[in-house]
């Protein structure tokens, strides 16, 4: 037997279907929605529909945008000869936060993962090859995550890019700035040693 009204049960189910939200959290969120003034609850509902309907992928870099082309691809202040390849739209945000990188991006929307049945056809590799073939690209920076899937994806793409006259680079590995050698894991420390630079 369910002890909540049907529409409340339904809302709890919907919240519980979101990633990282368990049954108890879903209940708390649903109760919060019920406690909101009606216009705020409606605004929440509208935000879901608006975002789902108006956000899609940039025709060029596949990042999320509301226009046909995203702000970065449309900007003439960015270096269109450099493409930074990332797995997810949120990774663009991470790199942009540094205010250092001036090139463009390419968002794969995933990483190769045989375990989860994600193959080359399932992520936006074709679109990247098309850009490298058609545009005047000098360098492709592989900025996929430093985990198994990210590494495999970077290796796979760098091999596909071999035939093109383009420099392919990978983000440096090493100890994080401001951290402590004591807390660095062995793999990171070894990569930091291998990648040591002259002072």
């Amino acid at each position: 037997m369910s002890f909540f009204p049907a529409s409340l049960e339904n809302l709890i189910d919907k919240f519980a279907s979101l990633p990282g939200i368990g049954r108890k959290s879903a209940q708390r969120l649903a109760f919060h929605i019920l406690s909101l003034p009606e216009d705020e609850a409606l605004a929440f509902s509208d935000a879901v529909v608006d975002a789902r309907k108006s956000v899609h992928c940039c025709r060029i870099c596949q990042n999320l945008t509301e226009g046909e082309i995203c702000a970065i691809c449309a900007s003439d202040r960015r270096d269109h000869g450099t493409i930074c390849v990332v797995s997810e739209p949120r990774d663009v945000l991470s790199i942009e936060r540094g205010h250092e990188y001036q090139g463009t991006y390419h968002v794969l929307h995933g990483a190769l993962s045989p375990m989860s049945h994600v193959g080359p056809e399932d992520i936006r590799i074709k679109e990247l090859l098309h850009r490298v073939a058609e545009e005047d690209v000098e360098e492709v920076i592989m900025a996929t995550n430093p985990d198994t899937e990210g590494e495999a994806t970077a290796m796979y793409i760098s091999r596909l890019l071999k035939p093109f006259d383009v420099k392919v680079t990978r983000l440096a590995y090493g100890i994080p700035v401001g951290s402590n050698l004591e807390f660095a894991d062995d793999a990171t420390l070894n990569r930091a040693l291998e990648g040591r630079t002259e002072m």
Copy 2:
């Protein structure tokens, strides 16, 4: 500068305004919404509106319901002479899960808390007094939480109920079933000793 499209930023803001959801979780949830098929995203949005519009408080016990009176208050298989007073609708669920209690409930929608400016006017105490005065009530079980606010609320209400010819009881304190004495805190152990029963 915001790096996401406006409608996506808006959705992230909405998720981040929910209790216990930080900025990063809100981003993850918003990205998940974007990745849903359009009909599922619409169903999520509809669930919010439906629940907010059709759920309200039972006229008698103040628990959440879609009708005028909740299923428990409407049932003639429940003992309407016993009222179990709880703070939140989810507490009704907790007690119902035990399949033991056969009486009705009264949901206060909060607990007295001078620190958070919650006074007797802000929770549904008036409605409880009205029920005790008008209905044929034999026992009121105070089942507010065993914390400072819950205790104060139980004390306050039990004093208000003094003039009525009604038995007022409190849930027993003690060590949780299946737990270990080693892990019980001092206060709980002391209350378990005080409340010891003959075998």
